[in-house]
Symmetry: C2
Subunit: 183 residues, 2 copies
């Protein structure tokens, strides 16, 4: 049906299935929303970045809100995968988690900025996505810490989250000096 591949054995990345387009749109959406914010970003800008017409976005996403939520969920998924991939002995688990987060802010800054954006958007669906995203991140870290036998996981998670937030905010506000000192 929609699982297409050319006979040559190579993927034709330029081929456009709805699934591919969805991904392309999401990637562009992350960048555009991060740069301009939810309300200032236009669907036309996102479409232009992908190289499609503006109305076509609405064939693949019900509306702007749903597009933003999907982009946000994408960011949270990567973040959770990142934390899940952390492997370190107990005594370095905390510092490695922090390091791993800071690396994510370098490899995918737009996804981090998107999350900072979302903190202030008063929209039911977006608020809910933020709540479950934040909860999932905290849970992921907590369960890792607990499994490693760390004493007070909730306290450590809280510290990580607080410093991570300050780091992200420092980045969003372009205030490097605001970044957390030590840990």
């Amino acid at each position: 049906m929609s699982n297409k591949q050319t006979g040559s054995g190579r993927f034709r990345t330029e081929e456009s299935t709805a699934v591919n387009r969805r991904e392309q749109i999401l990637e562009a959406a992350v960048a555009v929303f991060a740069e301009h914010g939810y309300y200032k970003a236009t669907t036309a800008q996102i479409a232009e970045k992908v190289g499609i017409s503006q109305p076509y976005i609405f064939k693949l996403f019900k509306n702007k809100e749903e597009l933003f939520v999907a982009a946000l969920e994408r960011a949270f998924e990567r973040m959770i995968r990142t934390f899940r991939a952390v492997a370190a002995p107990v005594e370095q688990l905390l510092s490695e988690t922090t390091r791993s987060y800071e690396q994510l802010t370098e490899t995918h800054p737009s996804e981090i900025l998107l999350q900072v954006q979302a903190l202030g958007i008063r929209d039911e669906a977006i608020l809910q996505a933020m709540q479950s995203g934040m909860l999932a991140v905290a849970d992921e870290i907590r369960s890792k810490f607990a499994a490693a036998g760390i004493e007070h996981p909730e306290v450590e998670v809280s510290t990580i989250m607080a410093n991570g937030m300050l780091f992200s905010i420092a980045m969003a506000l372009n205030m490097p000096d605001l970044k957390p000192r030590q840990a």
Copy 2:
């Protein structure tokens, strides 16, 4: 000129000088911006709350952006006054500062929400107001800590800021469980 007072000796609070109106508008603006966010909040909503016509706002503020910046500065000023007023022995200075901040989130939640809102607004003037506001807050705390002879003021300030941010965000996202554990 504009320093008016009735002969009775009582202030006529219902009298409306431009200065009074400015204050009323700012107060309404804080509430409306905090509730709906910068872009969804309308100048008509703010005007209605004050009981004036929508265009009159533009007699006292150049535009919406300037109104938001003024509201934001108001929030930062109160926050700095709050920290300045903290008085406690060295060993309790840190916990008292935190307590004092959390109390502010209860007495003036809208001003805190306004600051969270502002984190994500990509607008030059608002970004600048956020930068100098955050800097002023950090400096205020740092100088107090330094004066009290606290060992590594920058580190402690960083911790306070990080936990304060997490607290505010937990509030904005309506996620009480996200609030910092211990300090």
